[in-house]
């Protein structure tokens, strides 16, 4: 099967679980994959082998492609599906199809339309970071970093959004704005309507232009920037370095990669909101197996979110999340 | 018999293309029941005048009357509706569409937008019957038909239109003799029905057989018109070129020397040519005659390495060695062989590039060092060649497509000169070009022979072969059947050889032959 992983040799029974990420090319998903494999290994017994089948759509934003993946897994006849929907509404019918064929579905990372259950899209559980809280943590950290850097000047921030219609990143954006409004009224929100784009290349170009425009047009330099996901942050980070603004502008990212972690060390990044992708994959698979075994499962499982800063880098809990294991 | 009143009259028509004056104050009259020959050099404006008539080109000035009424077509459709049909110089057919669809294009019979196939088919069959091609399957895509048959389809279109004025723009330049004769019969059918026919051709003999009246254009002006029976051919030529041409076939003295090109038993991949052997000597012009489809083009292409070869040997004595049959044009150019294609626009030239690029492409070596071009050299070399060949153009930087046919052909020949080829393979080099340019080309061939080159000259125009060549070979069904000194051939004997002694067609060759060739059977001897 797709990336089939054999656990145990002459098992009497095999439980096949399809794990479907939003995309396959970001490091985050590699860690989720590692988590799901870890759960499968730990839960496999000599009597029952748990097999993970890992497959995503060709491109990250291809909703129709993800529907195709779900349907093809149903055709193959898997015992359960773990899914991170690309689009909260678009996958409802596919999940409903799974439900009607008796295949349980655990949603992770990004939510399904709240009205999905009415359409027959029953799900076992939703295993994810509380992205709203993540956004709040980012805002708090950014305010703190700006205060340390600027001192007296009235600081302004820029929010660079990811892509319209992506539930998880929209939650982060809302959490970020809510925290600023509620707890940091002195921080001005300079811009919250720019989309940085879905690839690092696009983000680099857009962030450069945004910074350029603020500086020249409004004669203000934003005190802080929040980039709501990893590819996005990658481009923004590079733009800041390029424009030589890493000192002046505080920067908080969401999700780590090697470059960003290095940035945390050299001071060009002031904080990274870190999720627990391994835990997410692990817990989602465990929830599904528990459901198959007839046990009750919490409808919402929070996998936690932390903020990594230059200060708490060495903290083992943070360090583990900054460099999570990945499936090879 | 007094000439009837004109059915169509064009008055003081003018047309400019940018700096070029294509038509300058031209008047013309065509009478019902008669065939008017429209003649003139290349670029004289014949096609342009007829395009004006057919509504494809809008004149800058002038007016026209048709059957006494004012006639000013808004476009080709309007012209056709008014009863003016045109058969263009280049075939105008949609290759992917069937014969029926091509014939009915633009005048489909339909009901609520849906085609009425049966009615269409009936009309197409009727039109083809008239042309003696009733057996043609109207559902065949035109792209699968041989060239001659395609022309028939095009002519059937005019028949179908029941046009009152029918224009033929060089219709026989790609027609085999038998179809040309069928065409002449159609012309008679048309004129008997009261239509006025305008006929453009560079073949004066043909004009004399087919036409009643003539009109001559020179440099966009009408320079003479009248009834053909009142003029002689030298008169016509003088009108066309604006001077008396004493020698249509200039001969430059040359004497054949040792063999230069030797072809032994050459057989093409698709068995044309088959077992061809010939020798061309230094200072010799060898003509190749034959029917259309006899494989003369294939023979030249095989010698030049453009087509795959099954077996045989080709030797060019300059290199002294045998030329590998598979070596391709590149190898041929190196061993001193040059080729002028019969398809000038499609293969011979890059119409959208400069004269210099066209003339020098075959041999950039002397103009470059280690692959690096000397930027001024191609222009310099081309300018010299243009002067030598008398090319009328602004300069070596002009785009080839802007030149008239004859001048384009000279550029193609200039390439062979630039390549310094010892062996010249010329495929129908005089097709579609005017008398003046033709005579220039004959002189060039003579000069080449005098300079010790070997010229292999393929033509469908027997008079020029007999006048220009030292020896003439005849090709039949892919085989070279006879090689004799030119003086020993007559039009009749050449035709008999081309057709094969056993053929009954031999005696159909009239004394006026030369416009085309006869054809051994109505079906194409060799489908593509």
């Amino acid at each position: 099967g797709p990336d089939g992983d054999v656990r145990g040799n002459d098992a009497a029974e095999t439980v096949t679980i399809a794990v479907i990420p939003k995309g396959t090319t970001h490091e985050f998903w590699k860690s989720v994959h590692a988590g799901s494999l870890q759960a499968a290994e730990e839960l496999s017994t000599p009597e029952r082998r748990i097999e993970i089948q890992w497959k995503g759509s060709q491109e990250e934003s291809d909703t129709a492609g993800q529907i195709r993946v779900v349907q093809n897994f149903l055709t193959r006849g898997v015992d359960g599906i773990v899914l991170a929907p690309n689009d909260s509404g678009g996958l409802v019918d596919a999940v409903a199809d799974a439900a009607s064929e008796g295949v349980p579905v655990v949603i992770f990372d990004s939510g399904l339309d709240p009205a999905a259950a009415d359409a027959g899209a029953e799900t076992v559980s939703f295993v994810a970071t509380d992205n709203f809280i993540g956004g709040r943590k980012a805002a708090a950290r950014l305010a703190e970093a700006m205060a340390a850097a600027e001192g007296d000047a009235k600081p302004g921030v820029v929010l660079l959004r990811y892509k319209a219609g992506s539930e998880s990143t929209e939650q982060r954006e809302e959490g970020f704005l809510a925290e600023l409004r509620e707890n940091h009224p002195d921080v001005e929100i300079l811009s919250a309507d720019q989309y940085a784009g879905t690839t690092p290349e696009e983000s680099l170009a857009n962030a450069t232009q945004v910074l350029q425009r603020f500086e020249s047009e409004f004669k203000i330099r934003p005190g802080g920037i929040f980039a709501v996901c990893e590819p996005n942050a990658d481009g923004v980070h590079r733009a800041l370095k390029e424009l030589g603004l890493t000192e002046e502008v505080s920067f908080v990212a969401f999700d780590p990669n090697e470059t960003l972690v290095a940035g945390l060390k050299d001071g060009s990044v002031d904080g990274i909101v870190v999720q627990d992708p391994v835990g997410m994959g692990d817990k989602a698979v465990r929830a599904l197996i528990a459901h198959l075994d007839g046990e009750g499962v919490e409808p919402r499982i929070d996998t936690g979110v932390l903020i990594a800063t230059p200060e708490n880098l060495k903290d083992p809990a943070v360090a583990a999340l900054l460099a999570p294991p990945r499936a090879e | 018999m007094a000439a009837p009143a004109p059915l169509l009259a064009m008055h003081a028509v003018s047309k400019r293309y940018g700096p070029t004056v294509a038509l300058d104050d031209v008047s013309l009259a065509a009478r019902p029941g008669r065939v008017l020959a429209l003649i003139g050099e290349n670029g004289a404006g014949k096609s342009t005048l007829m395009k004006v008539l057919a509504g494809a080109v809008r004149p800058d000035a002038g007016r026209m009357t048709l059957a006494g009424a004012s006639y000013a077509p808004a476009g080709p459709t309007a012209a056709r509706a008014a009863g003016v049909a045109m058969i263009y110089q280049e075939l105008n057919l949609a290759p992917d569409l069937s014969v029926e669809d091509n014939l009915m294009l633009g005048r489909e019979r339909s009901r609520f937008g849906f085609l009425s196939r049966s009615e269409q088919r009936r009309r197409c069959r009727a039109a083809l019957d008239k042309l003696g091609h009733g057996a043609l399957d109207v559902r065949t895509p035109v792209g699968r038909l041989p060239v001659g048959t395609r022309q028939v389809v095009e002519i059937a279109r005019a028949v179908l239109d029941e046009a009152r004025v029918v224009v033929f723009d060089e219709p026989t330049s790609s027609l085999p003799r038998r179809e040309a004769e069928a065409l002449f019969a159609v012309l008679r059918t048309l004129t008997e029905g009261g239509a006025a026919v305008i006929y453009i051709s560079h073949f004066l003999e043909e004009v004399r057989t087919v036409c009643d009246d003539y009109a001559v254009l020179r440099d966009g002006r009408a320079v003479g018109s009248g009834e053909l029976k009142d003029v002689t051919e030298p008169d016509l030529v003088a009108l066309m070129v604006g001077r008396t041409v004493d020698d249509l076939f200039p001969r430059v003295p040359h004497t054949p020397g040792e063999p230069l090109l030797t072809v032994n038993n050459l057989t093409g991949a698709d068995r044309t040519p088959e077992g061809a052997s010939l020798t061309v000597r230094r200072g010799e012009i060898l003509g190749v005659s034959g029917l259309i489809g006899a494989g003369r083009t294939e023979l030249l292409r095989a010698i030049y390495g453009l087509d795959a070869v099954r077996s045989g040997r080709i030797t060019v004595s300059r290199s002294g060695a045998e030329v590998a049959p598979g070596a391709g044009p590149r190898g041929r150019i190196r061993s001193g062989v040059g080729f002028v294609s019969e398809d000038r626009a499609g293969e011979g030239l890059m119409l959208n590039r400069t004269l210099a690029e066209n003339a020098t492409l075959g041999r950039l070596g002397p103009l470059s060092k280690c692959g690096l071009l000397n930027p001024a050299a191609p222009n310099r070399a081309t300018a010299a060649l243009m002067q030598r060949l008398g090319v009328k153009a602004r300069g070596p930087g002009q785009t080839a497509g802007e030149l008239s046919g004859g001048n384009q052909q000279k550029i193609a020949v200039a390439r062979v000169l630039h390549q310094d080829s010892d062996v010249w393979l010329l495929d129908e080099p005089t097709r579609g070009i005017d008398v003046g340019a033709k005579s220039d080309l004959y002189r060039l061939m003579g000069e080449a022979a005098a300079a010790g080159k070997a010229v292999l000259f393929v033509s469908s125009y027997l008079p020029e072969l007999l006048a220009v060549c030292d020896r003439v070979a005849v090709m039949r069904r892919g085989e070279l059947v006879a090689v004799r000194p030119a003086a020993e051939w007559t039009a009749e004997s050449a035709m008999a050889a081309a057709v094969g002694a056993d053929s009954a067609c031999a005696d159909t060759v009239g004394a006026d032959s030369g416009a085309g060739e006869t054809e051994p059977s109505p079906s194409e001897p060799k489908a593509r």
């Binding site: 319209a164 | 105008n92 669809d101």
Partner: protein, 328 residues
């Protein structure tokens, strides 16, 4: 009728043989792998059809355009624009019928715009539609206010929402309802191409534009009509895509144009114009679907599948051209 349809069947025979070969191959290897073939099941057929519907309908439109010697690079973004228009109309309270009509009309208008530009400017279709490709995506973003438009379940009646659905109660005669719509559209396109005056003019323009003009075909109007018809079908494809996702996403179209063109070309259409037909194109769509679905069932990874599809495109067209050359 008989000879014309016979000819069209024969023209489609090459691609059809390829399809049979590919399906047989996948069925065999799938059977060898598991001892039974999940590839050759009715369910898998339904999944493949439901998935391919938008591309298939749009490819019918592209067939018309390519037969007339054109190309439409803007088909993908135009499709997304139409889906967004449909979604926005529904959200604004239009009835589903009106909204669908609007989407189709929008497609026809976009197509007509392409046609007018091509006919009036003397610029090759490739360049014109390269320009409108971006313009249509921009327009879609404006209509959608740069986000995904979700009209909500209640605004979407069953006939629309279940057009591409494979759930038991949606099926009509065993297939998703959209499959029958596709069939009707394909028959209509085939009839237009083969049996109407417009069809003759269209092939004439594609085969030899100069001849068509000299024979009195109004080439300009034919082109406008061709692109409008192509756009109309692209609009219908937008309706199909909306039905798949229950939402209109302004960025979901980019890249789709190449899939659409690939289907037409595999199905025997020639970019030189004058060739191609409705059923050939459907065969082309089926070949692509078979590779995608079969590759999945055999457990090919995403990259392997991409490479295989690329190879098949080249091989299919090379074989077809070789066959045509040898006069078959």
């Amino acid at each position: 009728m008989t000879t014309a349809s016979l000819r069209s069947v024969l023209a489609a025979a090459g691609p059809a043989l390829a399809l049979v070969g590919i399906v047989a191959g996948f069925a065999f290897f799938d059977w060898q792998q598991d001892g039974e073939s999940t590839f050759l099941t009715l369910r898998n057929l339904r999944v493949a059809i439901g998935d391919a519907l938008p591309v298939a309908v749009a490819a019918l439109g592209m067939t018309v355009i390519i037969a007339a010697g054109g190309i439409d690079l803007s088909a993908g973004t135009m499709l997304a624009l139409c889906a967004v228009v449909l979604a926005a109309a529904l959200k604004a309270g239009c009835s589903a019928g009106t909204a669908a009509l609007l989407a189709v009309a929008c497609g026809a208008a976009c197509g007509a715009l392409n046609g007018v530009l091509i006919a009036s400017l003397g610029v090759v279709p490739f360049v014109v539609t390269l320009g409108t490709l971006g313009a249509f995506e921009g327009a879609a973003k404006i209509v959608a206010d740069e986000t995904t438009v979700r009209p909500g379940r209640d605004a979407i009646p069953d006939w629309l929402g279940r057009l591409t659905s494979i759930q038991g109660d949606s099926l009509v005669l065993g297939l998703p309802p959209g499959a029958w719509v596709l069939l009707v559209l394909a028959l209509a396109v085939a009839a237009v191409l083969r049996l109407t005056v417009f069809g003759r003019h269209l092939y004439a323009v594609g085969s030899n534009e100069k001849t068509a003009r000299l024979c009195g075909v109004s080439v300009g109007w034919t082109k406008v009509a061709v692109y409008a018809l192509g756009g109309l079908l692209t609009g219908a494809a937008g309706v199909m895509q909306f039905a798949q996702l229950n939402a209109g996403n302004p960025t979901s179209g980019l890249g789709m144009e190449l899939k659409i063109i690939a289907a037409v070309v595999i199905g025997g259409g020639s970019l030189a114009g004058g060739r191609g037909g409705a059923f050939g194109t459907l065969t082309g769509v089926a070949i692509v679907s078979a590779i995608e679905s079969g590759g999945f069932q055999l457990g090919w990874s995403n990259p392997v599948q991409q490479i295989a599809l690329g190879a098949i495109i080249v091989a299919a067209v090379a074989a077809d051209r070789a066959r045509a050359r040898s006069g078959g």
